[in-house]
């Protein structure tokens, strides 16, 4: 029972490789949790299925978009919206860990500090990837098809996943600010609703009143949706889709990630003072 006994059998490398190992350990734990929370699994599966079906059949007839099947227009919007919803679980999960004292347990261990947040974000992002693929699958059943080739289809999934990853960091920071699951649950809807609905997700922004249009056309959720839409439909004059939008979405995702990673890590550090 000496320090030597402990240090001697530690095999984790120092530095970045050690941090990566800790991230994987924490992510694995969060992943197991997802599979042992059937409610969460069922509802996060049902939700995109329901959205795809509901929006397609409710709005499908009302919104004629020249040369484009509504389902092909809709799926990119649904996917990004679902990714934002899914990312909000990062806030809820983190506050649950804070409340249950799990974060204290992590803090008392000789692990990389950033791994607590990064491990959670990684697990949440993988779950989001699953939901993205599921939405595409459901879309396929009712007629959705990628119009712009396989490479673009893969890029579309990657763009959506990157955006989900960035949004998880936004919600990680929100969780650290709100501290309890109840508060987080209420708080996450404040950004979710305006950003996902006042976007190009379901209807072209041209149909909105002028002031709302300005917001809807210049916010990151719309950027991500337009990028996905370009990758699904190819160039489209009427919808104003072009390759530049992919760059814009990636840039914004990285920017959001950068800012909120910094904020979340700071908040995490400060919560121990």
């Amino acid at each position: 029972m000496t320090a030597g006994a402990v240090v001697g059998v530690r095999t984790r490398p120092d530095g970045l490789a050690g941090t990566a190992a800790d991230i994987v350990t924490v992510a694995k734990r969060n992943f197991i949790r997802v599979f042992r929370t059937p409610e969460l699994l069922v509802f996060s599966t049902i939700q995109p299925i329901m959205f795809v079906l509901l929006f397609n059949y409710v709005f499908g007839g009302a919104i004629p978009i020249p040369g484009v099947d509504y389902i092909n227009y809709l799926i990119p919007g649904i996917i990004i919206q679902t990714a934002v919803f899914g990312a909000s679980n990062t806030a809820i999960g983190l506050t649950e860990d804070l409340q249950a004292g799990i974060v204290d347990r992590f803090r008392s261990l000789p692990m990389a500090r950033s791994a607590v947040l990064a491990g959670r974000v990684l697990a949440d992002t993988l779950r989001n990837l699953w939901v993205i693929l599921l939405s595409i699958g459901v879309g396929y059943v009712i007629g959705f098809r990628f119009q712009a080739g396989l490479v673009n289809a893969i890029l579309a999934v990657l763009v959506a996943t990157l955006f989900a990853f960035a949004m998880s960091w936004v919600f990680a920071a929100m969780g650290l600010l709100t501290k309890t699951p109840e508060a987080a649950q209420a708080a996450v809807f404040v950004p979710i609703f305006p950003f996902t609905f006042a976007s190009s997700a379901f209807v072209p922004t041209e149909t909105m009143p002028g002031w709302l249009q300005v917001f809807a056309e210049n916010q990151p959720v719309t950027f991500a949706i337009n990028a996905m839409r370009y990758l699904v439909l190819g160039e489209n004059e009427f919808l104003n889709l072009n390759a530049g939008q992919v760059g814009l979405a990636v840039l914004w995702s990285l920017l959001i990630f950068g800012v909120f990673f910094y904020l979340a890590v700071r908040l995490y550090r400060r919560s121990g003072e």
């Binding site: 402990v6 059998v9 734990r29 347990r105 008392s108 000789p110």
Partner: protein, 333 residues
């Protein structure tokens, strides 16, 4: 080298002085007790020592390392079991401990080996593959303690480890603590129970409102208290004056009376003769008793003696205090 060295440690939350200038030095080996009521600052101190919290002022060195300079080095060498069980409900006991082992930096094989070793030791081997959700409160506390043992710590910090445990689990935990001490581990244990501190700790500090108000061995502390207390509850409160007169000259100090409840307390120490004499006199005066008990001194008595006020608790006075005393005497029987 000392296990813990604390100088003028302060932790302020706005106006709340959770710690208000604490000095401590804990040698290696044995159990060191930190005794205090709710809100005394015990958890705050433990969290600072475990590098979870930064002090507002002052210094703390753990195993020779300053907590603010190299927290990582300290975390490798200490174990912490907090006041509530910090275990994952959805993981099994074994998965919880494996995860902790991995985060200590052990290989998967080594982490699993240690998980099984600790589960065996803490008597949870049978429940190892069940999710913690199915565990009782006592089992969760034990698993939490197990997590703090995975790293084979030199210093173990236990924050009220027996609060909420049934008497049997408490006894088991005490046995385990004694085993750990035999192996050379140093323990810092906080408690609200004088009896527990007495049983386990070689040295004690008593804290109140963030300050150390007494320190010494359990025997020294008890010597200040005067031993067992006879408690009397009268059927007819009108007889209180008569009773106080009759009790004069008995016990090590004059009898006291709790104005609100009418409870009469007489410190009798080891003198059973005084008890017999007191009862004979009351019988002679035909005083009817509703309730009578002889109890060991509690934290409340420590505080009454040291500060002149009873331990302040979150519970409503005075019924809460009485209920708590009852619960404690129940534990002993």
């Amino acid at each position: 080298m000392l296990a813990v060295e604390v100088e003028q440690l302060k932790k302020y939350y706005g106006d709340v002085h959770a710690l208000d200038g604490v000095d401590l030095s804990i040698p290696l080996g044995g159990v060191y007790g930190l005794l205090g009521p709710n809100g005394a600052g015990k958890t705050t101190l433990v969290r600072i020592l475990a590098t979870l919290l930064k002090p507002t002022h002052g210094r703390a060195r753990i195993l020779g390392v300053d907590v603010t300079e190299d927290p990582g080095a300290i975390r490798r060498r200490i174990g912490l079991a907090g006041q509530s069980a910090a275990v994952d409900e959805l993981l099994t006991g074994r998965e919880n401990l494996e995860m902790v082992g991995r985060l200590y930096g052990f290989s998967r094989t080594e982490a699993l080996r240690r998980a099984d070793e600790v589960l065996e030791r803490i008597d949870l081997a049978d429940a190892a593959n069940r999710t913690v959700k199915t565990y009782s409160g006592g089992m969760r506390r034990r698993l939490d303690l197990a997590a703090s043992l995975v790293g084979h710590p030199e210093l173990l910090l236990l924050d009220e480890p027996t609060t909420g445990l049934d008497p049997r689990s408490r006894q088991d935990l005490w046995d385990l603590i004694e085993e750990l001490v035999d192996e050379g581990t140093t323990l810092l244990l906080t408690t609200q129970y004088l009896e527990e501190a007495d049983r386990l700790a070689r040295q004690l500090v008593v804290v109140d409102h963030g300050k150390v108000i007494s320190r010494g061995t359990p025997d020294e502390l008890k010597a200040q208290l005067g031993g067992d207390v006879l408690e009397l509850h009268l059927e007819d409160p009108g007889k209180i004056r008569v009773v106080l007169e009759q009790l004069e000259g008995l016990g090590s100090a004059p009898a006291t009376i709790d104005e609100k409840t009418g409870l009469i307390s007489l410190t009798v120490g080891e003198d059973t003769g005084a008890v017999v004499e007191a009862l004979r006199r009351l019988d002679r005066e035909r005083v009817q008793l509703r309730d009578l008990s002889l109890r060991k001194p509690t934290l409340d008595d420590v505080f009454l003696t040291l500060t002149g006020h009873t331990a302040q608790t979150d519970e409503p006075e005075p019924t809460g205090r009485k209920a708590r005393r009852r619960a404690r005497s129940g534990d002993r029987s």
